[in-house]
């Protein structure tokens, strides 16, 4: 599957090869959806910095390696349960669904008993079992137009997770979807897809956890579609700890109806090159969202957080806080756009991006955007970049705290604002310990 001119993967050829054996190949609507995905991808190709949306993120690493579809290489190394990290507190009611290189792994998963009205199953299974139930959502919340990587996922998605929470149902314990990568001794590419549907007045907490278990290069191209119906609330926590040679591109597409709430948080620690995209559409009056994130990068890591919040109806609100810590030669990118459409009056939109540069060779590129077409709004954004505050450091040192400890204390304090809104205490703890581990103080 090689291109003549470089080591790049020819994804179109992969599609031609695989189309007949992809799940739901016999369903006309799904085939059409995949077809439109590959057409979109063909039209744009892999994005380059010449595209404004990818100005600061170069996908060159993807062009150097030929990634095989994950099914073509030998079955992934069997992973013992003990090697499967989790963000959930150990207990009896652990609901975890594990995808190894993008495919459902029943041995490692434990779905457990679900409350009435809640269903949780692998995507491939859902396509076989109840394709009609997916048709009006899959590829409808996340439109692949103009988004080549999402389009590629749409064309090649093989497996993933479907979580449905019925009207009024409450799933108080978090559900964890664990994406395990770096299991093969070949470079593989996979395109997991999540579909999360919350009916009116329901509640759920979803954890998406990406973990790489080796230094092997691989390419995870994930997409998540979320619909939160009237009065429902979803807490979505993502932790990205992919392998050090991995490329991780993920987009999360959220559709909020009237009075719906989405509380999102992402922590990015891993991968050589990563991009975390969040696109929220506030489609109903009074809908509100939080889109927060933190990224901790070192070495030559590159981390891109790109968000688009679209206010389409009156009295919608969003708060967005992204905090980054960049060491060595790492590079952070933040592109955040708040868009207020005509008629979306009484909108409240606030965005903040802050980056700490810990090294002389680290770099931050920020592009916070406001695009506003309604007059009765209150919108703001702020962006800062700089080193640790010398005075604060001095204050701590003057009180006998060693420099290294003082620095990590200040970094933790800096990140707090983004982490604070993770409302589930156990998860908040788990995230803090990840941060502490990164800082070497855990």
């Amino acid at each position: 599957m090689l291109n003549g001119n470089s080591g790049a993967t020819d994804f179109e050829a992969v599609f031609t090869d695989r189309r007949a054996s992809l799940p739901g190949a016999d369903l006309a609507w799904l085939s059409e959806l995949r077809e439109s995905g590959i057409n979109q991808f063909r039209r744009h190709g892999l994005p380059t910095p010449r595209t404004e949306a990818w100005k600061y993120t170069n996908l060159r690493p993807l062009q150097k390696v030929a990634f095989a579809p994950s099914h073509e290489v030998s079955a992934p190394t069997v992973v013992g349960l003990d090697r499967v990290p989790s963000l959930l507190p150990s207990g009896e009611h652990v609901r975890r669904l594990v995808l190894t290189e993008g495919r459902f792994n029943p041995e490692l998963s434990s779905i457990g008993d679900l409350p009435p009205g809640v269903s949780l199953e692998p995507l491939a299974q859902a396509i076989r079992r109840d394709p009609g139930g997916l048709q009006s959502y899959l590829g409808r919340i996340a439109h692949p137009v103009g988004q080549p990587m999402l389009a590629l996922n749409t064309a090649l998605m093989e497996d993933g997770v479907v979580l449905r929470v019925g009207r009024g149902a409450v799933l108080s314990e978090p559900v964890e979807v664990l994406h395990l990568g770096g299991l093969s001794d070949h470079a593989v590419a996979y395109h997991p897809r999540l579909l999360v549907l919350l009916e009116a007045d329901s509640r759920a907490v979803l954890v998406e956890h990406f973990v790489g278990l080796s230094e092997q290069a691989y390419f995870a191209n994930a997409a998540t579609e979320i619909r939160v119906a009237e009065g429902a609330r979803l807490d979505h926590i993502k932790v990205q700890a992919e392998g050090t040679a991995a490329t991780h591109l993920a987009s999360c597409h959220v559709w909020l109806d009237r009075q719906a709430t989405f509380i999102g948080f992402s922590l990015s620690l891993g991968a050589q090159l990563s991009r975390n995209e969040v696109h929220v559409r506030l489609e109903g009056e009074g809908a509100r969202c939080r889109v927060n994130g933190a990224y901790l990068m070192r070495g030559k890591q590159h981390c891109d957080n790109t968000t688009l919040i679209e206010h389409l109806k009156p009295e919608t609100s969003c708060r967005e806080v992204f905090k980054g810590v960049l060491d060595d030669q790492s590079r952070g990118v933040f592109q955040g756009r708040i868009m207020v459409h005509r008629g979306a009056d009484k909108t409240d939109g606030h965005q903040l991006s802050k980056a700490l540069l810990l090294s002389d060779r680290a770099e931050i590129d920020a592009k916070p955007e406001l695009e506003i077409y309604a007059d009765d709004v209150k919108c703001s954004h702020g962006a800062t970049a700089g080193d640790i505050d010398e005075q604060a450091l001095f204050y701590l040192r003057a009180r006998g705290i060693p420099e290294a400890r003082a620095r990590s204390l200040l970094i933790q304090a800096f990140l707090d604002e983004a982490l604070d809104e993770v409302g589930i205490p156990a998860l908040h703890e788990a995230l803090l310990s990840r941060v502490a581990a990164w800082l070497g103080t855990g």
């Binding site: 002389d360 916070p368 007059d375 919108c379 703001s380 702020g382 962006a383 970049a385």
Partner: protein
């Protein structure tokens, strides 16, 4: 008596100069053939009696221009420009103007009145054909004399090519290279007028310089090229444009302004732009595609841009500072007001290269009617700019539900000791503020003007006194018809 003699002398001098440099009298009947091509550029260059190197430079720019695509990234829409359907060199339009103020559009006169512009100046602004505007001439003379005493060179760029070729050659294109962007490159190929200022070492220019007082510049050209050089330890303040709407028939304005501040020098550049914005339906109006850039070459130098942009159908300009010298300072203060169908995409670039360089950006955007206003700015800190500091504040005000206000800042920092801060807000005029004014008997339009002036205060304060008062009135006038 002496004054009369002096005036008479000046008029004579001015007349002679016009003749000598062939600006009005000689070329009046001559216009370059329509369209753009190497012959036209040769024609312009020959008319100006330019040296070979300058012609070469123009041609190099033109050849490069042919290879450049139209810049389409700005948040503005318009039909593609037909570069061949225009004249690139023609005599100034003094002769074609109205014969007296009676022939001038009464709407325009009402605006002048509101701005409080004296009758004589009204005539000049409206393009009324007058032989010599005596007030201005005498003012100009006094100016010239004073400037000459301290050694400041202030003349048209065409004149400078003749009289100070070494300075022009050294600095022209050194800040905005001929291949910079499509519009600047076109300007490099066909520029016909503009100002040249050189302030010698240690001189503090005794007065505000202004195109307005430069006799030959009564008709500002379509492709203006301005070059200002402040030598070590000098200071100059330059005013461009004026608050009154200018009569003009060119649709495309592609000016280039280059500023060079050497060690310890300071340049303050203020602009009030009020070109014809087109009618309420967006027909007509000027396309103002301007490239302005200043280089703080020396240590401790400073460049400050202040702009009040109320006119033009489309404004596309990003006055920038390249902070090369250590401890150099760049400032950008901007008010952009759009009404009806106007579109503005404007902002600044601050490129921090030297140590302890500082920049400050305050941009206020006001959109009304069906207009769109975008702030687009870049703050870039290079790895060597230790201790660099930037603070950016962008505020947008929306009046009416059919306009748009956008903020697109780019922040790129490669130095950890640099501190970069950006904040932006968007809101509408608060009902409370309007109610408060109305309660006290202030009319609605007046109240809006009052609130908007308050919103812009930080920028208006940066304008030289002469401009500030008129600019405040202009803010109100630009928003007429936007409420109620």
């Amino acid at each position: 008596m002496a004054a009369t003699v002096e005036t008479a002398q000046t008029v004579k001098e001015v007349a002679e100069r016009k003749y000598k440099y062939g600006f009005v009298t000689e070329i009046e009947s001559e216009t370059a053939p329509k369209g753009l091509g190497e012959e036209v550029i040769g024609f312009i260059s020959a008319k100006k009696g330019e040296p070979d190197w300058l012609l070469e430079w123009r041609l190099k720019a033109y050849r490069h221009w042919l290879t450049m695509p139209e810049p389409l990234w700005a948040n503005v829409t318009f039909d593609a420009l037909d570069y061949q359907d225009a004249y690139y060199y023609s005599a100034p339009k003094t002769a074609e103007g109205p014969k007296s103020l009676e022939e001038v559009d009464p709407e325009l006169l009402r605006t002048y009145e509101k701005l409080g512009i004296p009758l004589r100046e009204q005539e000049m602004l409206a393009g009324v054909a007058v032989d010599a505007v005596f007030d201005s001439v005498s003012v100009a003379t006094t100016f010239k004399k004073k400037l000459h005493e301290v050694g400041v060179i202030f003349c048209s760029i065409s004149e400078a090519v003749q009289t100070h070729p070494e300075l022009v050659r050294e600095y022209l294109g050194s800040v905005v290279p001929y291949a910079d962007n499509k519009h600047a490159t076109l300007n490099s190929a066909v520029f016909t007028d503009g100002s040249f200022v050189y302030v010698p070492k240690g001189v503090r220019c005794p007065m505000e310089l202004s195109t307005y007082f430069r006799i030959n510049a009564a008709n500002t050209g379509q492709f203006e090229r301005t070059l200002i050089i402040a030598d070590e330890g000098s200071y100059v303040s330059y005013l461009e444009g004026c608050t009154a709407p200018m009569r003009d028939e060119h649709q495309l304005h592609a000016a280039v302004v280059e500023l060079v501040a050497l060690k310890d020098a300071e340049i303050k550049y203020s602009t009030v732009q009020n070109w014809y914005p087109g009618d309420e339906e967006g027909r007509g109006g000027i396309f103002n595609f301007v490239t302005k850039r200043g280089a703080c070459r020396g240590d401790n130098s400073k460049i400050s841009w202040t702009q009040v942009e109320t006119g033009s159908a489309i404004t596309w300009k990003y006055p920038s500072c390249i902070l090369q010298g250590d401890n150099s300072v760049g400032e950008f203060y901007s008010i952009a007001i759009t009404n009806n169908m106007q579109q503005a995409d404007t902002g600044t670039k601050m490129i921090h290269l030297g140590k302890n360089t500082r920049s400050r950006i305050i941009a206020k955007g006001i959109s009304a009617g069906r207009s769109n206003s975008t702030y687009r700015g870049l703050v870039k800190v290079s790895p060597k700019a230790h201790g660099a500091r930037n603070h950016t504040q962008c505020d947008s005000l929306l009046i009416g539900e059919r306009c748009g206000a956008h903020t697109v800042p780019y922040i790129e920092s490669k130095n950890r000791s640099a501190r970069v801060e950006h904040e932006a807000t968007t809101s509408k005029i608060s009902e409370d503020q309007l109610f408060y004014c109305r309660q006290r008997g202030i009319g609605e339009e007046e109240a809006v003007a009052l609130v908007v002036n308050g919103f812009c205060r930080e920028v208006l304060q940066q304008l030289p006194m002469e401009f500030a008062v008129e600019a405040q009135k202009l803010v109100g006038i630009s928003l007429e018809g936007s409420v109620g």
